[in-house]
Symmetry: C2
Subunit: 303 residues, 2 copies
């Protein structure tokens, strides 16, 4: 099952050097989950060839503008382009008021429903699940309430060895049970052992998104053993004081989080506008956690 | 004196084909006036090499998102980048509430003052003037209250013929009076005729910006004899019904406005997302008003 994330924006605070404010598009089995939505996200979607209307879920980590100023424009465009299917938004409660006020003054009456779930940055909780994935919040420590999001794939069913099933004339009516791991007693007494006709499923993957936060232990427990951990790395470690002051993380600290939480791979982003070149941030992180990559706009990372 | 306008966005409603929503930057004697501010305007300023902090005046025509969704991001970035000098905003009153709500939830306390002037779309009035320019509203007819803006350069002072003044030993203390057109009686009885030492100033120029409107006569009187008229031309004339329904203008109608109001030159923009190619819009307008150009992003038009 596909699980991959495309970076739409990797800048912190202000857009510079062709870097846009934060946004990511998670593709889980061809369902699309937008994570944060900085200004220009709809333009980035167009640039990278994604159809905004395929997005059915939007997660907003907090109400600093570089994480949501693009949302009202995206929602307006979906309306103008004829969307009627609902969209689910998970965000701090005040976002409802901000959206409503702007729709009111433009006299916009959306053709599609927004199904809004208010999230609190008080404890890590399950906020959504469907057949593919469950989503839990990660309580971060930023200047205003802020949550990350952890996307965990649901366990998959066993994989059928179809050639063998066909060779032995086992009808497709038995496939659902076999996928679920059952052994079968066929009419007439024949016994079908599951292990002969199936293989283990792909292990479910976990992606965690930690947007803006001070480096501190309280959220480490909730992001253990991620296959891919995205973590902000706004500054080089030489700017630690500034990072602490603004409740951000250095590249070195992001790598420490990956190490401590036993991530398989680390993706760093949310780069300060002071860095035109990003390689020093990557090199710093790699001194602590080798399997690190830069979150680069337009690039899709398999999870 | 320099008067020129750079197009930052020329799309209507939704961004497509690399066209951004509406925004223009007017440079009047190296003072910068931003006219409308669709999403991504701050990115466009960077792309085209303008420093956002040079902007001291912002004019918002109406509260449809494609004309202002980029404002909150631009104002936030100015703050984050250390601006302290005031900025003047002329916009519908509700914009104050929209900005305040977003600053509140991000806990942003601007380091610079916003000097806000609420504009009404009821009659054409003078809303601002300084030594260079006066700005008047143009009452348009859109689905929500909407004004255009007319920028009229102030009459310039007469140009001194400096070589001649120096040749005749006329002191610089007399220059200010000569620039203002006065004849002089020097001590000792010598008479200096202004016409011998000055030439006519450059004629003041007029730029009018008509954002979103139905084609109708009520605003024609207020935009007579423009040197450059920007007028929306959302649709081809074959879409007249749609234009009327959405309170927009066709390319043919925009040209008719230019003709009726005796504009010297017409610039058309605010192109519907249905048009990938813009040449048909230009050709249609030129059948009525030959001196028409397309408003293309990144291009600066002298006025």
């Amino acid at each position: 099952m596909k699980l991959e994330v495309t970076i739409l924006g990797s800048s912190s605070a202000t857009p510079v050097y062709n870097r846009n404010p934060t946004s990511q598009l998670l593709n889980c089995n061809e369902k699309f989950y937008l994570i944060d939505c900085g200004e220009g996200t709809q333009q980035q979607l167009i640039r990278f060839g994604f159809k905004a209307n395929k997005i059915d879920y939007i997660f907003i980590s907090h109400l600093h503008g570089d994480h949501y100023f693009g949302l009202i424009g995206l929602l307006s465009s979906l309306h103008l382009n004829g969307r009627i299917k609902p969209i689910k938004i998970f965000a701090p409660n005040a976002l409802q008021e901000i959206l409503a006020l702007q729709f009111k003054h433009s006299e916009t009456f959306l053709r599609y429903p927004i199904e809004f779930t208010a999230i609190e940055a008080t404890e890590s909780v399950l906020i959504y699940e469907n057949a593919d994935v469950k989503v839990e919040t990660v309580v971060l420590n930023h200047r205003i309430p802020c949550t990350g999001f952890k996307f965990s794939q649901k366990p998959r069913m066993r994989k059928l060895i179809v050639e063998k099933l066909e060779e032995d004339n086992i009808g497709i009516e038995y496939y659902p049970l076999l996928k679920r791991g059952a052994d079968l007693n066929l009419p007439g007494g024949k016994i079908i052992l599951n292990k002969d006709y199936t293989t283990d499923p792909t292990l479910p993957k976990v992606y965690a998104y930690c947007s803006d936060t001070l480096f501190e232990g309280r959220y480490f427990a909730s992001i253990q053993n991620c296959d891919l951990l995205y973590h902000e790395a706004t500054f080089l470690h030489e700017m630690l004081d500034r990072a602490n002051q603004t409740h951000h993380t250095t590249a070195l600290q992001a790598a420490q989080v990956a190490l401590i939480t036993n991530a398989k791979k680390l993706l760093i982003g949310h780069f300060s506008s002071r860095y035109k070149a990003l390689l020093p941030l990557l090199e710093e992180a790699k001194t602590v956690f080798q399997n690190t990559e830069l979150a680069l706009e337009g690039i899709t990372y398999e999870i």
